[in-house]
Amino acid sequence: MQADVRGGPRLSEIVGFLPLVIFVGVLVYISLNAPNFVTVRNLELVLMQSLPVVLVCVGLAAVVMAGGDDVVSGGIDLSIPATAVLSAGITAQMLSLDYSLLSCALAALLACLVVGVINALLVTRVGMTPLLTTLAMFVAVVGVNNVITSSRRINVDHPWIIALRGTEIGSIPLGIILVAAIVIIGYFAMHHTRWGLNLQAAGGSKDAAEISGIGVNLLISHSFVVAALTGYVCGFFLLARGSGSSPGVQDNLMLEMVLATFLGAAFSPRRVVTMWGAVLGAVLVAAISIGFKSMGVNVFWTGLIKGSLIVVVVAFSAISQRVR
């Protein structure tokens, strides 16, 4: 009896580790074929490239942890990338009209909070599924942003924003330090506070949380606001990365965010969406994109590879659930 109980998880753990093994295998393959891949310079590039995705993944992880990881009925926020683009759009447009950075930042913050609150209300009060809500909000927010920016590219050269990309503190880029700080704060809030544990309980089992007197709907609302805030911060990193706001960034960001977060779930030992998993997923996805680029693989193939990776990883994840 005991032996059976121990043997079961072990088999599923082996199957469960395959996604990570596949990923590492792909990276090893890349580094063997692209000699310049494993250099400090290049790894820094990978990290810098992944920063916007890491940020939105932190937000998405919060929403999924609060709402449960069933994609259709549980928690998901597809509107975060749109919020990020809105944050970038408002800031860029106002900067180009010579407002101070502070007032730009405040205006963008307000707009992003409105998005988060609307998401929260639609999900907890109206009872729409998060998937439907945030998909529709994605469209609406992108539409509003296109009105604000008139769908054109706006250059930004404000030194503070460029600093996110250029400045280094003790040879580590400022952007990486800031995002690392945000991830650590997020991790602390999620795993070392009462709020975070209750949030996870809400997503893990709604009934269990409610029986323990946890206000599930309030926590779900919080998670959408947190997600909007990560989108808000991400907006500035988008501005820094692209030296301005340009239309159309949101689609790719959304796909990478979903890919990275659910890859992260397949990596995590508890097999659920976690903050570390999402961050790791985001970095690995960026590493693979850059890796294939430095190998000289046609850029059109990367989408195919990413799509296949989701299939492989999610399929293994599903199989390991069954083995259990």
């Binding site: 070392h192 269990a208 097999r271």
Partner: protein
Amino acid sequence: MEPSAFSLSGVVKEFPGVRALDHASLNVRPGEVHGLVGENGAGKSTVIKVLAGVYQPEAGEIIVGGTRLEPATPKTVHAAGVRFIHQELHLVPHFTVTESVFMGQEVGGRLGLAKRQMRQRAETFLRENLGLDISGNRLIRDLGTAERKLVQIARALIDGAAKVVVFDEPTAPLASEEVDTVMRAIARLKEQGIAILYVSHYLSEITDICDRVTVFRQGETVGVFDAITDASAADLIFAMVGREISDMFPAKRHRKTSLGLAVTGLSDADKFTDVSLNVGGGEILGIAGLIGSGREELVDTLYGLRRTKSGSVFFDGTSLRIATAAQAVRQGVALVPRDRRHDGLVLPMTVTENATLATLQDTARVGLIDRKAAKSATEDQIKALDIRPPNADNVTRLLSGGNQQKVVLARWLSTNARLFIFDEPTVGVDVGAKAEIYQLIEDLAAKGAAVIVSSSDPVELQGVCDRIIVMMRGRNVGTLPATGLSIDTLVAATTGAAKVEDLANAG
């Protein structure tokens, strides 16, 4: 006045068309384990919900620790020190033991949470109060069911304010060897002076652990028994089922007419091995067995819901292929599942839609449903089975348990099924509908169908079946003839207190 940790008196609770509690009363003394028994539908779960403050009763009062709760809401009840150990575990599988114990009542430290303190408190509490020595860092999903149950108990009691603890079927999901673990934990709680209300179907547990027992029948308190012994368990059963016990079951008029089902050496991947059984056309075979005995898995496998590993299944001499439920249905097997709200009915669909789901092709032309024909066929069934309210367009979610069960049955009666499997046919069904369902089962056998009844209710098995096989730890440990079989004997066989072959020889 007698000393009381809590009491309910004169409680009345009505639902549309039903009086679930009719002046029910209950009195639990400090430091005693008080049993609450009754049939399904006797009002046990309603009284728990009233005590929890979830239902507001029409009349009656609730007194906890000498104070009347007015009104009793989940908050006031909790504040008065009443804790509930629900039947469902309500745990998050990927949480640790510590996280689960302190869920919703986390302890803060200087920076964030006092994780180490919480872990130590959880481990100490589990070890000293419940007798479970376990690391607070283990994940719930790696624990056995009994350990999870103890974690659930710890969560309710860790704040130290509990005065009354209500256990609702705490052992239902446990295997027999795990039951002892939970029983020992309850005994420890009693020593600490906590009053315990113990609600269970398992009379052997009740007689083992309870100081006194209250019996409910049809929403009324029909008796309070002191110092229960095995000898008085019979009185308990008599009080529970009342005089109707003999009227409840139809006379057995069916007779074996054909070879029927023959299962030899059937095994699945892990839950049962080498099970053989036969049930002829016109016969009713019972399957007894506790939860975890492989009984449920055996039923599911016979219907194609689980994979077969080895063994053969024949019906009237020809091999049955039951790899999927769809195959089973096409070969004349019908299942009335135990979880009818989940597996039996598509709840948002109407009576007609549900009743005709397996026989759509009979009334269809070029694949299109003849809605008039389907409806009139259903209306005939509604009349024949006395489904109430008699409206074919009602959504099945709104029907009572007994009527829902009849709709499931109506679906299979219009197919030409030869083998009917009933899994817990009367769970959540009121007494009146129960008798009707027993009659329908008898009628099926009388018409020559082979019938299997799998049930956790020994009275039901004895009353309906010809023979009863007993499942234990994944094996068929023997067959008992129902005629002249006493309930105690059947219970003893099911729980492993007596060997089946000895009983069969003696009987």
